[in-house]
């Protein structure tokens, strides 16, 4: 059972790496900040690191936060339920990929867990309050991503692009943005992953942020001066390399749970006979999930990223930076709170935000409609399929 679950989970992680990562890295490749080959390298490493060091929070939510496992007395049911959730999620992803619907692996796995929970221990076994919060964040995360992207682009416009000397303004503002990025990552990493004291984490994060600010500032001085807007785009192109790392790290932190969450349950039950020992997600599983994502990126990711990136011709780096920064920050904050959100949907929110700020032209409102439909369809579908698979598995 454990081996089958690990194989299934690894396959899930692999498909996330092969397919889903391209959506989160598309803007960086499309804006020519990085080549598809560099995207593969960056994603491979950063997705792995994000998953390993930061994936535990969301994984715990998927594993223990949706269904009240104490209400299921038979550990065998929980293992089969976790397996059913994983299988239902995989079925739905395959189905929707063929259908061309932008569904989220996150939503699928949440639906899958809910479905088996309802069949195994009734409606009351689902933590509806938690489900409500999760469902709410699916609406809120694209909105926050959009609002943040709108604000970042407007800030760049006002403080950089509208200045008499945009290049000098970019030299001031890019280090600030990168300093903030590293401050956020360092703070959350310190508090959430290394469990360090809050005040110490704050000081450490400030030091990291200031250091990054100073190093970037030094680096910016060496930038050649050409056509002002091209030069500004050149600076943001380099900055976008950092934000694309940020996106990959956040994506790994959030999405590894979709593959690892159910396996964590099976792994702990097989090892200890009970789920109550699942206080911390075993690092080895996060490591495996990260490895699966990295393997997916390394093998099939290149082709997918090339296809996606080449299709985006109009995106430049100030816009790409705004989208990446907003997406990564939203997803990363959600991950640190243990809330599973969809990176793809947050990217769509961020792109829309920049579009509303007249930074880019956004087509096809149908995509936004499709997302709304996917929200309503994915969870019930995955839940029903998971319930059916669970019913079938308990027969044996």
């Amino acid at each position: 059972m454990t081996i089958l679950a690990i194989v299934l989970g690894f396959a899930m992680a692999y498909s996330i790496g092969a397919n889903d990562v391209a959506n989160s890295m598309a803007t960086a490749v499309g804006a020519k900040a990085i080549t598809p080959r560099q995207a593969v390298l960056i994603s491979g490493i950063l997705e792995f690191l994000g998953a390993t060091f930061f994936g535990a929070h969301v994984t715990k939510t998927i594993a223990k936060g949706i269904v009240n496992l104490d209400m299921i007395s038979n550990p065998d049911y929980i293992m089969k339920g976790a397996m059913a959730a994983l299988m239902a999620s995989a079925v739905w992803i395959i189905f929707s990929t063929l259908w061309g619907m932008p569904v989220s692996t996150t939503h699928s796995i949440v639906g899958g867990m809910m479905g088996f929970g309802i069949v195994a221990a009734g409606w009351e076994s689902v933590d509806w309050m938690k489900m409500g919060v999760i469902a709410l964040t699916w609406v809120i995360s694209p909105l926050i991503g959009g609002l943040l992207a709108y604000s970042v682009f407007k800030t760049i416009s006002y403080f950089v692009l509208h200045r008499k000397d945009p290049l000098s303004a970019a030299r001031v503002w890019v280090p600030i943005f990168l300093g903030i990025t590293f401050y956020i990552v360092a703070l959350l990493l310190s508090i959430k992953t290394f469990k360090l004291e809050h005040s110490f984490s704050q000081i450490t994060a400030i030091v990291v942020g200031v250091l990054v600010f100073a190093i970037t500032k030094l680096f910016m001085r060496k930038m050649p001066s050409e056509d002002p807007y091209e030069a500004v785009e050149g600076i943001f192109r380099k900055a976008q390399i950092v934000t694309s790392c940020y996106v990959s790290f956040s994506h790994g932190a959030n999405d590894v749970a979709n593959a690892v969450g159910p396996i964590a349950l099976i792994y702990v039950i097989v090892g200890t006979g009970s789920v109550s020992r699942l206080v911390e997600v075993p690092r080895v599983l996060l490591f495996l999930g990260g490895l699966g994502i990295a393997a997916g990126v390394a093998t099939l990711g290149y082709r997918v990223m090339k296809t996606v990136g080449e299709g985006i011709t109009e995106l430049n780096n100030t816009r790409g930076f705004s989208i990446d920064f907003a997406t990564a920050t939203t997803v990363f904050l959600a991950s640190s709170l243990g809330i599973p959100v969809s990176t793809t949907h947050t990217v769509v929110g961020a792109v829309t935000g920049v579009g509303m700020a007249r930074g880019i032209e956004v087509v096809d409102a149908n995509i936004l409609k499709n997302i709304a439909i996917a929200w309503f369809v994915t969870v019930p579908f995955a839940a029903v399929v998971s319930a059916l698979i669970f019913k079938f598995l308990v027969l044996f």
Binding site: S157, L161, Y229, E233, T307, I312, G355, A357, V362, D364
Partner: protein, 223 residues
């Protein structure tokens, strides 16, 4: 799934297509100027006609493409109706250039005084300049967009639009001068030729009017 994010962005940039359309307008009007030159030198202008005919087809295709992309755009740089009107104005420049060329091929004036032919050629040169400046102001829209609609880039755009307006005024003045001259020769020239040359002069001025309208739309769009 992998194409999902890509579908958010237009396959081709409407702004890039708009610049291409303005380049077609410029090429059509340059061809027209050459045709006017050849016409008054008694040379065959059918080859110019063919070129402009081809350009008209290209402009039509681009107009369709721009409209097609823009009707699917949810959040764009510009107001849809403004862009539509701009595209129509630029396309009409090519249409009018084509009409003038057709008209020139229909009738060869039996005699045209040098000052009249030179006057008409001067108008064609001024019109060509106005349309070139229109193309440059369309290109400047790129900068306006790239700068996130910066006030300083808007000022540059305004200056370029003013240039087109100045050209239009000088074409108008020149048109009236040449027109007066043509109609003053009604006793000496064939009446059909008088009406014909008058019509050519008016149609050339019409192109600069269209260029001015298009440039003013660009100014509105850049704000």
């Amino acid at each position: 799934m992998e194409k999902f994010i890509r579908r958010l962005f237009p396959k081709e940039s409407p702004l890039e297509l708009l610049v291409k359309l303005s380049e077609i307008g410029e090429r059509a009007v340059s061809q027209l100027r050459l045709a006017v030159e050849d016409y008054f030198n008694g040379r065959d202008i059918s080859s110019h006609g063919k070129v402009v005919d081809g350009l008209e087809r290209d402009a039509d295709k681009l107009k369709f493409e721009i409209r097609n992309i823009y009707k699917r755009i949810k959040w764009g740089y510009f107001d849809k109706s403004e862009l539509d009107a701009l595209v129509s104005s630029i396309e009409m420049i090519v249409d009018v250039a084509d009409d003038i060329l057709k008209l020139l091929q229909m009738n060869q004036v039996s005699f045209c005084p040098k000052d009249v032919s030179e006057g008409i050629l001067n108008i064609a040169v001024e019109v060509e300049r106005a349309v070139r400046e229109l193309r440059m102001s369309a290109e400047e829209l790129w900068k306006v967009v790239e700068s996130g609609f910066s006030p300083s880039e808007y000022e540059k755009e305004e200056e370029m639009v003013s240039e087109v307006e100045c050209e239009e005024s000088s074409v108008d003045a020149l048109g009236i001068k040449v027109g007066k001259k043509i109609f003053s020769l009604k006793e000496d020239l064939n009446p059909v030729d008088v009406m014909f040359l008058g019509r050519i002069t008016t149609m050339l001025s019409q192109i600069s009017d269209l260029a001015e309208n298009a440039a003013e739309r660009i100014r509105d769009m850049a704000s």
